[in-house]
């Protein structure tokens, strides 16, 4: 599978949709859809995410890769598929901010990795806390671009903690990348430095949340 992952990664990074599609179909001949997601798509997106973190791949490639993988996975693993069911109730949101690209990328990569999650769009603190409680979330992913929004995560975490909500908060976005201590300071449970890392973190939480 290593060779297939390398080829799939190359196709995605060069935006060669036809080649990526062919490799995906090829993998489906010997694997079930969820196996293809777990053995081909997720490891590839992890590599793409790591490459962005290392500075060798650009955000435009990460975005287009995620969007395309989301389409491929959607085709073979629709939202109603039972393989998508055994996961914690999750949502993603942009907090008090209007920069939506980061959320869009993480959402695509999560869905391309077989996860179903609510997309809350953009919300402010109180609206978000109410919605998290109403939806009985177990995982909340918060994306921000500007510093004031990142600091507002502290209010979200404090309010959720005050009512004893059993939800884990995963944060991501530029302020957290430029200050690696900030996610702890605001009371989050983890920080994802790329979309793929966010997927790995949520996967790691799945056992303890079920």
């Amino acid at each position: 599978m290593d060779q297939q992952i390398a080829q799939f990664q190359e196709a995605l990074e060069s935006l060669d949709k036809l080649r990526a599609d062919a490799l995906f179909r090829e993998a489906l001949k010997e694997n079930t859809p969820i196996q293809v997601v777990e053995r081909l798509v997720v490891p590839t997106l992890v590599r793409v995410g790591q490459a962005w973190h290392d500075g060798t791949v650009a955000l435009s490639q990460v975005y287009m890769s995620g969007r395309f993988c989301e389409e491929l996975v959607e085709r073979v693993l629709p939202p109603s598929d039972p393989d998508r069911k055994h996961q914690p109730r999750s949502a993603i949101v942009v907090l008090s901010d209007y920069h939506m690209l980061g959320k869009r990328i993480v959402y695509s990569v999560m869905r391309a990795s077989g996860f179903e999650l609510f997309d809350y769009g953009r919300m402010d603190v109180d609206e978000l806390v109410e919605r998290v409680l109403a939806d009985k979330l177990r995982v909340l992913m918060i994306s921000v671009l500007i510093l004031p929004s990142a600091l507002k995560v502290r209010d979200v975490c404090a309010k959720l903690k005050a009512v004893g909500a059993p939800v884990k908060v995963l944060v991501g976005g530029a302020p957290f990348l430029f200050d690696e201590q900030m996610w702890r300071e605001v009371g989050a449970d983890a920080m994802g430095s790329s979309a793929a890392e966010a997927v790995s973190i949520v996967e790691g939480w799945m056992g303890e949340l079920q």
Partner: protein
């Protein structure tokens, strides 16, 4: 020029370093914008509503923090206001761009660029520059801002839709670039005519953080060559925290004089890549700066100067092009102190320097 020479003005200091020579000390480009509102006790929205406020704020900041430039930058979305967009003001952060003015790619087919002289919001900036120029003459560089035609669509239509446009709709992309280049050139030249010394050409989309080099060479770089070639003054191309080490030479090919660089990359490597063709502006971490102690500030200033100060061609600044509202006064004062202490040429102390940042 060395430590025995009389002090230079900020303008002399800056021009000397841009000429790849060592001035009396490393120029400090403390790019404070919203801090002017703090100085005047105004909200950020109120502060930017009048040219007189920004003039008073910038003059106070210049005196207080001992920087080497004035920075009459209001906020990025003032340009999209001119295109019919709106701005959302926050109490504690940079004003944000409202909903996109281009709601679907088809809008580009009928889009018309605004005229600078007919845009009251831009006139406010021009008036600010004129008044600052009256105050400082040629002693302090006035650094105005124009968002690059290539990066402007991130605000005009949203980042995701724009990436898709670049990859999937080349004809509409070209039309949008034609419109934006006309606007940016007119806007930059109006600011220069009002008294700006140079234009900070914000082009974060061209950063290798955002697009691969191959794409930059056929898009952002071509646009920059066309735009910068028509701007009647020096430019500093700023990556707004994005990486650019693999394209420093390509950026130099656009005719720009300075590159604003990120703390994600090594200043020494960037300096070598710049090869005296462009000067560097950077690269203190503005986000982390919020919680620095004065001692941290000194260590980070020392590191930047040690890595890039020798031989000139270096202006010390934050790495994003705007100091966050949350950065406290004592940190900014400590940065000024550290530049005064460690930025005097010749930088003999660098030989025995060890990194404590």
């Amino acid at each position: 020029m060395n430590a025995m020479s009389p002090s230079m003005t900020s303008m002399q200091r800056t021009l000397t370093t841009l000429g790849q020579q060592e001035p009396d000390r490393v120029p400090l480009f403390l790019l404070t914008t919203m801090h002017g509102a703090k100085e005047l006790g105004l909200s950020i929205e109120e502060y930017f509503s009048r040219a007189e406020n920004v003039v008073a704020g910038q003059m106070r900041l210049l005196q207080k923090y001992r920087g080497d430039c004035l920075y009459p930058f209001f906020y990025a979305s003032i340009e999209t206001e001119a295109w019919g967009g709106s701005t959302l003001f926050l109490p504690d952060g940079p004003p944000l761009c409202g909903p996109p003015v281009i709601t679907c790619p088809e809008d580009i087919d009928t889009l018309q660029a605004p005229r600078v002289m007919e845009s009251p919001c831009l006139q406010r900036v021009l008036e600010t520059i004129r008044q600052l120029k009256e105050r400082v003459g040629d002693t302090v560089p006035i650094i105005a801002v124009a968002i690059s035609p290539f990066s402007l669509p991130v605000m005009q239509m949203g980042f995701d839709k724009y990436i898709e446009l670049i990859y999937e709709q080349p004809a509409r992309f070209e039309r949008l670039m034609d419109l934006n280049i006309g606007f940016t050139v007119e806007w930059a030249n109006a600011q220069l005519a009002a008294g700006a010394t140079a234009i900070c050409y914000f082009d974060p989309l061209s950063s290798t953080t955002n697009i691969p080099r191959e794409l930059y060479l056929t898009t952002g770089q071509q646009v920059a060559k066309r735009a910068i070639g028509q701007i009647k003054g020096p430019t500093a191309t700023h990556m707004a925290s994005g990486r650019c080490l693999p394209i420093v030479a390509d950026i130099a090919d656009t005719g720009t004089a300075v590159v604003g660089v990120s703390m994600l990359e090594d200043l020494g490597e960037l300096k070598a890549a710049a090869a005296k063709r462009v000067s560097l502006l950077g690269n203190l971490n503005g986000i982390e700066m919020r919680r620095w102690t004065p001692r941290d500030a000194e260590a980070h200033v020392k590191r930047a100067i040690a890595q890039a100060g020798r031989g000139g061609g270096f202006l010390l600044a934050d790495n994003h092009g705007e100091i966050p509202w949350q950065v406290p006064e004592e940190v900014l004062l400590a940065i000024g102190d550290a530049v005064e202490k460690w930025g005097r040429y010749p930088l003999d102390w660098v030989d025995s320097w060890t990194d404590t940042a």
